[in-house]
Amino acid sequence: MFEIQNLHVNISEVDKKIIDGINLKINPGEVHAIMGPNGSGKSTLSYTLSGKDGYQVINGDIKLDDESILELEADERAAKGIFLAFQYPIEIPGVGNLSFMRTALNSQRKYNGNSELNPAEFLKVLKEKANNLNIDMEMLKRPLNVGFSGGEKKRNEILQMALLEPRFCVLDETDSGLDVDAMKQVSNGVNSLRSDNRSFLIITHYQRLLNYIKPDFVHIMAKGKIIKTAGPELAIEVEEHGYTHLLT
C-alpha cells in the first residue's frame, strides 16, 4: 500500500511551498487519476514521491507498506518499486538506451538480492516488451531519447516501466503529445501491467486517456491541495465544465 500523509513540500530553490497538505491512500491494484489546472503542483508531487533533490518535505510523510521512504535516495525508491514516467523525458547524449536500461534493471535486481541478467537474457526480455509497445529496436540503439519524437519519448518511458515492473507507477501526463494510435498502445501497455499488487497514479489533463485506462478514483488538485475526490464520472465533469466551478 502507498500512502501520502499530510504532505507539505517546499521547492528549496525558491523557498516556496507548492504542496500544501495532501493525503492519499492507494491500495494495491488501484488506479488513481489526478487532474488539475496548470501549475497546481502535480509534477511537483511526482518528483517528491520519486525523491528528487530540491523538493523538501517540510511536513508529513510518504509510506510504502507502512514504512516511510522519505530518507531513501531516488535510486533506492526506484528499487523498492516506485516508478515515475516523466512529463518531459530528457535526452542524455552519450548514454546508450540499451546499456542504460540494462544497468537500471540490474541495479534494481542487485538491490533486491536477485541475480543480474547478462546481455543476451536482457535483450530477450527487452525485445518482447518493445514489441508489445511497437517500439523499434533500432531506435533503442541510439543514445537515451536523443532525437526521439515527443511521442517516442513517452513510449520509451512506458517501455522502461514495463521492463522494470514497478509496484507503484506514477504517469505524469504520459498522454500529452501522443497520437491516437500511440495513446492506444500506451494504454494497452499500462492495462497489461495492471494487477492486484501494482497500483497507478495517473496525472492527466484529458478524460480521453481515462476511457482507455479506467481509474478507480479521480482527484482534483488545485494550489497544492486535493480539493475533490470521486469516481470516473468526475473526469467527465471536468472535461465538460472545466475547473472553475470546482475551484469556487
Binding site: 520519486s50 525523491g51 528528487k52 533533490d53 535516495e73 531516488a74 535510486d75 526506484a78 528499487a79 516508478f83 515515475l84 516523466f86 523525458p89 530528457i90 542524455i92 547524449p93 552519450g94 548514454v95 546499456s99 542504460f100 536500461m101 544497468t103 537500471a104 534493471l105 541495479s107 534494481q108 538491490y111 543514445p143 522502461q160 522494470l164
Partner: protein
C-alpha cells in the same frame, strides 16, 4: 654537438641547428603567450632534471594484442627494439623502415630530404623549444615510408621500467593514396620527449591514435608536426590518463587544398599533479580544407587541463571550414580548465567557429538515471563515460575502444 664523435653524417647539420636555436630561445620567457597557462619549467625542468615521485601501479595496464594487429614496433625504456622491425621489413615492397640510427648515418637515406621540414613549418610564430631540444637530444626513433596505395594498421608500444629520459624522434612518410592507422601506446615507468613528423601526400588517409596510460610515472611531451597535401585526410586522437604533466602539441600544415583534419583529445585527471595540455595549431594554406578540434577533459582532485587551440587561415585559403570545441567536466571544485581559443583569418570567404563549455555533471541527468534505480556513483560513471563518448566515436576499432573504456573504468572504480 653531433651524432657521434667519429664520423660526420647528414643529421649533424640539423643537430647543430637545433642546438643553436635552442640556446637562442629564451625558454623561461614566462611572458610568452605560448607558456600562458603552464610554465616551461614544468616541462623542461621535470624532463631534464627532476624525477617525479614514482608510484608503482598495481593495475596491469599492458595491452592484449592478440589478433589485434598486423605487427607492432617496440621501444623499451626509450630504446628501439630492432627485432620488432623485422616483421615490417618483410613487406619491403610496400614499406621502407629504418631505425633513427640507420637512417641518419646513411648518406643516401630517403629521410634526409624530408627531415625537419614539418618542424620548420611549425616554428612560426613560436619556436617550440621542447621540440628543438628533442632535435638536439634524440638518438632513437623509427622512420617509415609507406608506399603508394598501401593500407596498414599497426601499433607502436613504448614500455618503461626505469623512469628514464626517453627522447625519441620519428618520421612517417605517407605516399599518395595510402590508408594507415598508427596506434601508439605508452605505459610504465618512463618520461618522454617525442617528436613525430608526418608527411601526408595526396589522397592519403591517416589515423593516429595515441594512448597515454594511467601508469606513466613522469612528464610526457609529444609534438606531432604534419604537412598535408591535396585531399589528404588526417585524424590525430589523443587519450591521456596520466596523473603527471602531459603536453600534447599538434601542428598541422594543410599545404594542399581539400584536406580534412581532425584533432581530438580525451583527458582524465584525478590528482593535483595531473596537467593535460593540448596546444594545437592548424594552418590552412590552401582552399577548401576542413579542420576540427575537439577537446574533452574530465577533472577531479585538483587536476588541471589546458587547451590552446588556433586556427590560422591564409589569405588564399578561401572556403576554409574550421571548427573548434572544448569541454571541461569539473568534478570537484578545485580543478581548472584553462582555455585559449584563437582564430587568425586573412581570407574573407571562410566559416570558422569555436566554443568552450565547462561545467559539472547535470543534476537532471543524474536524477533521471537514479529514478530508474541506478545508484548515484554508477549514474555519475555513466555520465562521465557519456561525456567522453564523442571522442570515442571518432575511432571504430572495437579493441582499442575496449582498452580505453577499461582505463576509464579503472579510474572510476
Amino acid at each position: 654537438m653531433c651524432f657521434d664523435n667519429k664520423n660526420s653524417y647528414w643529421i649533424d647539420s640539423f643537430i647543430k641547428k637545433y642546438e643553436e636555436s635552442f640556446k637562442k630561445v629564451d625558454l623561461l620567457d614566462r611572458k610568452s603567450e605560448y607558456w600562458r597557462f603552464a610554465s616551461p619549467s614544468i616541462w623542461y625542468d621535470n624532463y631534464i632534471n627532476k624525477k617525479l615521485p614514482s608510484e608503482k601501479q598495481i593495475e596491469n595496464f599492458s595491452f592484449n594484442y592478440d589478433g589485434m594487429t598486423d605487427f607492432f614496433i617496440k621501444f623499451k625504456d626509450g630504446m628501439l627494439d630492432i627485432s620488432s622491425l623485422t616483421e615490417l621489413n618483410k613487406d619491403e615492397k610496400n614499406i621502407e623502415v629504418s631505425s633513427y640510427k640507420d637512417a641518419v648515418t646513411n648518406e643516401n637515406h630517403w629521410s634526409s630530404k624530408k627531415f625537419g621540414l614539418a618542424q620548420t613549418n611549425a616554428e612560426k610564430p613560436y619556436k617550440r623549444p621542447l621540440a628543438l631540444f628533442n632535435g638536439l637530444d634524440s638518438r632513437e626513433g623509427v622512420f617509415i615510408k609507406f608506399k603508394k596505395g598501401m593500407r596498414k594498421k599497426f601499433h607502436i608500444i613504448y614500455e618503461g621500467n626505469e623512469q628514464k629520459k626517453s627522447t625519441i624522434r620519428n618520421l612517417f612518410d605517407f605516399e599518395e593514396d595510402v590508408d594507415i592507422t598508427i596506434i601508439e601506446h605508452f605505459y610504465g615507468d618512463s618520461k618522454y620527449n617525442i617528436v613525430s613528423e608526418f608527411f601526408n601526400d595526396k589522397n592519403s588517409k591517416i589515423e593516429h591514435i595515441k594512448i597515454i596510460n594511467q601508469d606513466i610515472t613522469d612528464t610526457f611531451i609529444y609534438h606531432l608536426f604534419g604537412n598535408c597535401q591535396k585531399n589528404s585526410n588526417i585524424k590525430a586522437i589523443n587519450f591521456s590518463f596520466s596523473e603527471n604533466p602531459v603536453r600534447n602539441e599538434v601542428n598541422l600544415h594543410l599545404e594542399g587544398p581539400e584536406c580534412n583534419a581532425t584533432v581530438a583529445s580525451l583527458g582524465f585527471g584525478q590528482k593535483a599533479t595531473s596537467i593535460c595540455d593540448n596546444t594545437v595549431f592548424i594552418s590552412h594554406q590552401e582552399e577548401s580544407s576542413k579542420s576540427r578540434q575537439i577537446i574533452k577533459n574530465a577533472l577531479s582532485g585538483g587536476a588541471k587541463a589546458i587547451f590552446q587551440g588556433k586556427i590560422y587561415v591564409s589569405s588564399v585559403a578561401q572556403k576554409t571550414d574550421g571548427y573548434q570545441m572544448s569541454n571541461g567536466l569539473i568534478l570537484t571544485d578545485n580543478c581548472q580548465f584553462l582555455v585559449k581559443p584563437e582564430l587568425e583569418i586573412y581570407a574573407d570567404d571562410v566559416v570558422c567557429s569555436h566554443g568552450s563549455i565547462s561545467g559539472t555533471l547535470n543534476d537532471d541527468h543524474l536524477f533521471y538515471l537514479q529514478s530508474r534505480g541506478i545508484p548515484l556513483l554508477e549514474a555519475q560513471k555513466q555520465l562521465i563515460q557519456a561525456f567522453f563518448a564523442e571522442i570515442l566515436n571518432e575511432i571504430n576499432d572495437e579493441k582499442v575502444i575496449n582498452h580505453i573504456q577499461k582505463q576509464i573504468s579503472i579510474k572510476l572504480a
